[in-house]
């Protein structure tokens, strides 16, 4: 099954935290003030974070669930 998930670019992320504030499922954390990390189990791929991100660092990718789960 293919599911949409947010995937932040570590190098472009400025760790401002807007994505984490906007995420309706609290799936995003700013890892030690360095970059945003998405908890894939919580992410529903809604894209709200991607729209809010001022650095355009978040893309919504389609991830194959079976492959992701092993």
């Amino acid at each position: 099954m293919v599911k949409k998930k947010a995937s932040p670019d570590k190098d472009r992320c400025v760790a401002c935290g807007v994505c984490a504030l906007q995420c309706p499922r609290k799936a995003i954390n700013i890892y030690r003030g360095c970059y945003a990390v998405v908890e894939l189990e919580k992410c529903v791929g809604c894209g709200i974070c991607s729209k809010a991100c001022p650095a355009n660092a978040i893309t919504i990718n389609e991830i194959n669930q079976e492959v992701a789960n092993g």
């Binding site: 472009r12 400025v14 760790a15 401002c16 935290g17 807007v18 984490a20 504030l21 700013i30 030690r32 003030g33 360095c34 729209k51 809010a52 991100c53 001022p54 650095a55 355009n56 660092a57």
Partner: protein, 196 residues
């Protein structure tokens, strides 16, 4: 259906502080010193805690851009050009900003040493002089304290105006991508993380 009640925290309203700060400095420039809180707190969070909790939850300026840009629809919400959040621009702007901060501190020193006199004006975009003499009529502090106030207020107002311009043109919090404090604290956090 049970309604999902979102718990609100006091620090979500710090955007009000951003407005109050500029209002206070309009009437008395000595209030400009309070802006030092916004300089020192993020650094303490980054150096001691190794995090950007200030940027992430407490930055009144970022919140103000969000309130104006998103809630009041004053932002086009369009993607900013990539160079605006590129590393060379971010660190370049940080260096520029620190240089200007240093110049401002030096001007304060000139007044302190008696080599310069207090100028009751603020400078916008490091270029345009705006008279601001109503904001200071003497106090029990020496003149250099007020000089720093005028200089620091100029810096705060200029950076907020830049932030508002990019907020309107691009995404709400585009300022955050090249905010000097943000760049500095993220840099500190990255350095701290490499240690481990």
């Amino acid at each position: 259906m049970a309604k999902n009640k979102v718990k609100r925290h006091w620090y979500e309203y710090l955007w009000i502080w951003s407005i109050v700060y500029f209002a206070l400095g309009f009437f008395n420039i000595l209030f400009a010193w309070l802006g030092m809180i916004d300089f020192i707190l993020p650094l303490i969070f980054a150096i001691v805690g190794g995090n950007k909790w200030f940027c992430n939850h407490m930055c009144g300026r970022g919140q103000l851009f969000w309130v104006l840009g998103r809630n009041m629809k004053c932002s086009r919400g369009k993607a900013a050009p990539a160079w605006l959040s590129s590393k060379w621009f971010r660190y370049g702007f940080l260096i520029f900003f620190l240089t200007m901060f240093g110049t401002m501190v030096f001007q304060t020193y000139l007044v302190f040493s008696g080599a310069g006199t207090l100028r009751k004006a603020i400078k916008l975009f490091w270029t345009f002089k705006v008279p601001w003499q109503w904001a200071y009529n003497g106090s029990l502090f020496p003149d250099w304290v007020a000089q720093f106030g005028f200089g620091f207020y100029s810096l705060m107002l200029t950076s907020t105006l830049i932030g508002l311009i990019v907020m309107v043109l691009y995404k709400e919090r585009t300022w955050c991508t090249f905010c000097p404090m943000g760049t500095m604290t993220q840099g500190i956090c990255k350095l701290k993380n490499n240690d481990k």
